[in-house]
Each structure stands twice: as C-alpha cells, then as structure tokens.
Symmetry: C2
Subunit: 134 residues, 2 copies
DNA sequence: CTTGACCCTGTAGCTGCTACAGACACTAGA
DNA sequence: TCTAGTGTCTGTAGCAGCTACAGGGTCAAG
C-alpha cells in the first residue's frame, strides 16, 4: 500500500511542500511515480522522513541532518562520528541557552526600570537609547 | 561634523549594508546627501541607530523595533504601549528558554543512550528513528 | 459528468541581514 | 597632475528553512 505525498506528510506531521523541499535539496531520494505522475512512498521513505523530522525537532540543522543520514547510511555504524555531531549540537544549544538567559536578564532589568510609577519619561526608551559614554 | 555611513557603522557596530537596509525598510529616515551624493548623518541618526541596535541585541524583531520607535516618536511617551511590547517580548523569550531547555534535556538523553560502550548498533540513530507505535 | 480534494511544476515570499558587481568620489603620496 | 587605494553609490542575489501561491493535471464519489 504505497503512500501519497499527503499520506506521508500526515504520518510525519510534515507539510507537503516541505517534503518536496527535502527532495529538492537531496535529503529525500526522488521517489517512484504512479501512472498519474504522483510521488509514491513506502516504509523506507517514511522511516527516513521520520528520522529527519525528529532530528529537526531536536534542533539539528539540515546540514547536520544530512551528515547524520550519511553516517547512518554507511553500512558501518560510525557511532563516533554521530556522537561528535550530536555533542557539537549540544554545545551549540548550551551556548544559545546561555545567550538567551543573559538576554532575558537584561531585558527584565530594562522593563523593571520602568516599573516605578507614572513618570513623564519612559525609562525603557531611555534604557534602550545610546550610552552616554559612547 | 557630519558622519559618513562608514563612521555611523563604526560608531554603532553596524555594517554599512545593514544601515542601508534599515533605511530601505524605513527604520532609518532617508538622510541628507553630500555634494558627492554620500549619505550624511548627525547625532539624531546616531541615536536612532543606537536605539535600534540595542533593541535588536535584546532580541526584539524589526517589527517590534519599528513599533517601539513609533511610540517613542510620539510626543506623548506612551509608556503603557512600550511596556506592553517589552513584556510580550519577555514572554516570547521565556517560551524560547523553556523550549530550548526541553530540547536540551531530550538531546542529552539521546546522546547518553549511546554512551554505554561499543555496541554494533548506534543508539543515537535508533533514538532518532521512527517510533514503533506510529 | 461534475464537483472537490488532491497532486504536479515553478517561482516568489518570509526574516534580517550579507555579499557581490560595476560605477563614481575622495584622499594621500609620487 | 597622475595614480593607487579606499570609501561610497545603486541594484540585485544569496543564506536557512521553509511557506504560499499560480495555473494546471488527476482521481474518487455522487
């Protein structure tokens, strides 16, 4: 029972356009076609797309996904290579978390500076403005 | 002492192309020109661009920056409106932090699942693969 | 035999820049 | 005065990772 692109999309929570996009950039192989020129998919493609989506959900870039798929396609399961990509990504995530945390703290400070009452001057605007010592 | 676009860029840590981009999308007003058709800037523009950059550093979108500038340009300092935008952004940041934290936890779990040794099968690939109950 | 849901290709749009190409302006040194 | 090297100008195209059309073809149900 071959799947249409719509079926595949539903099964993997992916928009049809995105499936075609993945095909275009070479993440998914060109599928076989029905008599009416419809793309037809099977369990293999379903697995591959699930893999891609899961990796994307975990924040891997498409390039990283491509690399993971390449290593995974290797008969030899290059666990070290995969571990390297995953850990690299983890470090990236940690950097982003740190950045975002710092940003939040600063943003909060700016907002709180305005909290004091109904002064005529807006402290947020002031806080966002150019620094005096520039 | 009018500033060239390069001076302005250096003073605000902004690339020249970015300054022109901000002008094109209407964040910065069209500046006056020198005899040689060079853009010339003064303290007002410097202040405005500093404001934009600071807001961008704090993660505000260009649309939000536009709104903040609009409210700030209002003679009446609409502190409530500004506070609303800033707090909305803060909530966004908190959402992102939560998402990223959850992502990190899951990513860590996937990586750790592979940590046990030199098994023939890669647990990362497995963990990324399709769920059985799908 | 028509309606509606799906599919096809190709292209343009989104955010927030960044990077050219090809031409003109200006400054410092020979 | 010439020249080299920097800056600036406009316009356009590119990046990620999709998303959204337009303008058509296909297929199943009633």
């Amino acid at each position: 029972m071959p799947l249409t692109i719509g079926d595949l999309g539903k099964a993997t929570n992916t928009k049809v356009e995105t499936v075609r996009y993945y095909e275009r950039i070479g993440l998914l192989p060109k599928p076989s076609r029905s008599t009416g020129n419809y793309r037809t998919y099977g369990a293999t493609e379903l697995g591959r797309l699930s893999f891609i989506r899961r990796a994307r959900d975990l924040g891997f870039s498409l390039d990283q996904v491509r690399a993971l798929l390449g290593l995974s396609d290797d008969g030899t399961c290059d666990c070290a290579g995969i571990d390297r990509i995953a850990n690299e990504h983890l470090r990236e995530v940690d950097r982003k978390l740190a950045d975002l945390t710092a940003l939040r703290r600063e943003l909060k400070a700016v907002i709180d500076s305005c909290d004091g009452g109904t002064v005529a001057e807006c402290r947020i605007i002031e806080a966002l403005g150019p620094t005096i010592d520039g």
